[in-house]
């Protein structure tokens, strides 16, 4: 490896950010895979969990387990308090105006489906237009296609340039009097591009068009303030944010949520049921039918507490260091092409070789203990845009180290040797 990229990054970020201390909080990272230390670079798929999150789940099931919002007994009150406390923490974490605007869901996918089926089916009609971008995850494409089939609305797509950035001029052109909704990712899962969501919201709001943001890949990396972004909906998953799987959040502006019908019917989302008429519960419970993932919500609260205890400026500097180090190191490898070279990126490096398929690279890296994602990343239109069937993606989190990128590079060199 060359020395050039060492100079790029082994500098200021090292100060004040003790990555080894962070790593000690994540027990899974101590594991060996195929006899080698685990290098976990598949954070875009899911993140690892700090001990405090694991303990929160354990504590809940050991001492608090009970159903919420319905028991007069001690445990139910405890569980309800813990669950609602988690909602408060999340409200603060994304700076929502009120906890009424924080709806617990299964994950980003369910959050977007909720917006499509509740808001979309109520307010869209034939000929209306929904704008998404060419870098969306399938979960921010398919729910809108389904909605289009149901309502006769039409899907419009903002193109991306060769660097993997949205073409904002095209977005401005797509916005018109027929546009009734914009739904766009905050950070691309396949490319790492950070999308200028705030500016896009401003442009949409000039035309009174609401904006839904897929924040699944943004919340683990960026400090998100939904009021500052100005968006109308913001969706994210717990498991990518160092919390449990099966729980996620939809932030929605209260004014819109109030006007929307429930997404699912059942217990907890009602205030009064008779066979003649049912009255729905107030926000956010109107959208939370059935017993939720109580432990998951509490676990996500613990994850948020953990993150709030960190210095985010230093986390951001550390992750930026990982990205620039990896970009420089991978660019030095003969025949390797990085897909997604936007100016504003989070720690995601997607790459391809002409003569080695991503899946083969993934298997060889796995033998070195390096976990990456190989495939189309549930973003097949992105792959089509760049004319590749699949990429290998290394996605970083705050607990990754520069030394691990050296191991990644050595693994890639092994793949090159196999396929020379």
């Amino acid at each position: 490896m060359k020395v050039a990229h060492e100079i790029v990054t082994r500098g200021p970020l090292a100060e004040g950010f003790d990555v080894d201390r962070i790593r000690a909080d994540f027990p899974i990272l101590k594991q060996k895979i195929h006899g080698k230390p685990l290098v976990y670079f598949d954070n875009g798929a899911t993140s690892q969990k700090p001990q405090v999150v694991i303990e929160a789940l354990n504590r809940y099931y050991t001492t608090e387990n009970s159903n919420i919002h319905r028991g007069v007994h001690f445990l139910s009150e405890q569980a309800t308090a813990a669950y609602e406390a988690a909602r408060q923490k999340i409200k603060r974490f994304v700076n929502a105006g009120s906890e009424r605007e924080i709806i617990f869901v299964r994950g980003t996918t369910e959050a977007i489906n909720l917006v499509a089926q509740s808001y979309g089916r109520t307010f869209l009609k034939p000929g209306d237009e929904i704008i998404v971008s060419a870098m969306e995850h399938h979960s921010n494409i398919v729910p809108w296609q389904m909605l289009c089939e149901q309502t006769g609305a039409r899907l419009r797509v903002i193109p991306i340039n060769h660097e993997g950035e949205l073409v904002l001029d095209e977005y401005s052109r797509l916005l018109n009097e027929k546009t009734k909704l914009v739904s766009v990712t905050h950070v691309s899962n396949a490319l790492g591009t950070i999308v200028p969501v705030k500016e896009m919201v401003r442009l949409a709001h000039e035309r009174h068009v609401p904006v839904c943001v897929d924040g699944a890949q943004a919340v683990p990396h960026l400090k998100v303030d939904v009021q500052d972004l100005g968006c109308d909906f913001y969706a994210f998953s717990g498991h990518k944010l160092f919390g449990p799987t099966g729980v996620g959040v939809l932030y929605g502006r209260a004014e819109l949520l109030e006007a929307m019908p429930p997404y699912q019917g059942g217990g907890d989302m009602i205030s009064l049921v008779t066979f003649e008429k049912t009255h729905y519960n107030v926000l956010p419970y109107k959208f939370e039918a059935g017993t939720p993932h109580i432990a998951g919500g509490i676990g996500l609260g613990a994850a948020v507490d953990y993150l709030e205890g960190l210095d985010w400026q230093r986390v951001a500097a550390h992750e930026h260091g990982l990205l620039s180090y990896a970009t420089a190191a991978l660019s030095d490898i003969d025949g390797l092409r990085i897909i997604g070279t936007a100016k504003e990126k989070v720690g995601v490096v997607s790459f391809v070789f002409d003569h080695i398929h991503a899946h083969d690279v993934g298997t060889i890296l796995d033998q070195e203990g390096v976990a990456v994602r190989a495939g189309h990343h549930c973003a097949m239109p992105v792959m089509q845009r760049f004319g590749v069937p699949a990429t290998t993606r290394a996605s970083f989190a705050l607990y990754n180290k520069l030394e691990e990128i050296d191991i990644l590079v050595r693994g890639i060199q092994r793949a090159l040797k196999v396929f020379q």
Binding site: H357, A358, T363, I364, Q367, H376, A390, F419
Partner: protein, 152 residues
């Protein structure tokens, strides 16, 4: 030999680099498409069946080394075989890839001839679908199933 060396043997790498029978076929009377949604591997298998015998076979598509090599070796192996023989081979290959043959069954792998070189795949569960895609596809072509085959 390490598990990785067993997976990427010279023969497999060679078939990946220069796949045999890699072409479309105008006079094909059977054709099927295979698709692995997990990794995006895609291939088309062409057959010319005459009197229950595979007179000609070819494939085209994109995929990883394992899927390409497996498809290439399959075409070399199936040319001239009867439909019944092809189906039997499909079963045997499937059993080998999923690790159902072991050292105690000398009958098994022997019947597979050169294809035993793919047995290393069974140690990599995530890659079994790559190796079996071509076989599922040819099986569907033989049955003349019209739909796209998926490994999911």
């Amino acid at each position: 030999m390490s598990e990785l060396d067993e997976l990427y043997q010279e023969v497999i790498l060679d078939h990946n680099k220069s796949p045999r029978n890699y072409r479309s076929m105008e006079h094909a009377n059977r054709k099927a498409q295979g698709y692995n949604p997990l990794c995006g591997d895609q291939l088309t298998v062409y057959l010319q069946l005459e009197g229950g015998v595979i007179k000609d076979i070819s494939f085209q598509g994109s995929g990883c080394a394992i899927s390409k090599a497996s498809a290439s070796m399959m075409t070399a192996e199936l040319k001239g075989k009867s439909e019944a023989e092809a189906k039997e081979l499909f079963e045997n290959v499937h059993n080998m890839l999923t690790g159902h043959f072991n050292g105690d069954e000398p009958e098994g792998p022997k019947r597979l001839g050169k294809l035993t070189i793919l047995s290393g795949v069974s140690k990599f569960p995530a890659r079994v679908k790559c190796a079996s895609l071509a076989w599922h596809t040819v099986n569907s072509a033989l049955k003349a199933e019209p739909e796209v085959v998926s490994t999911e």
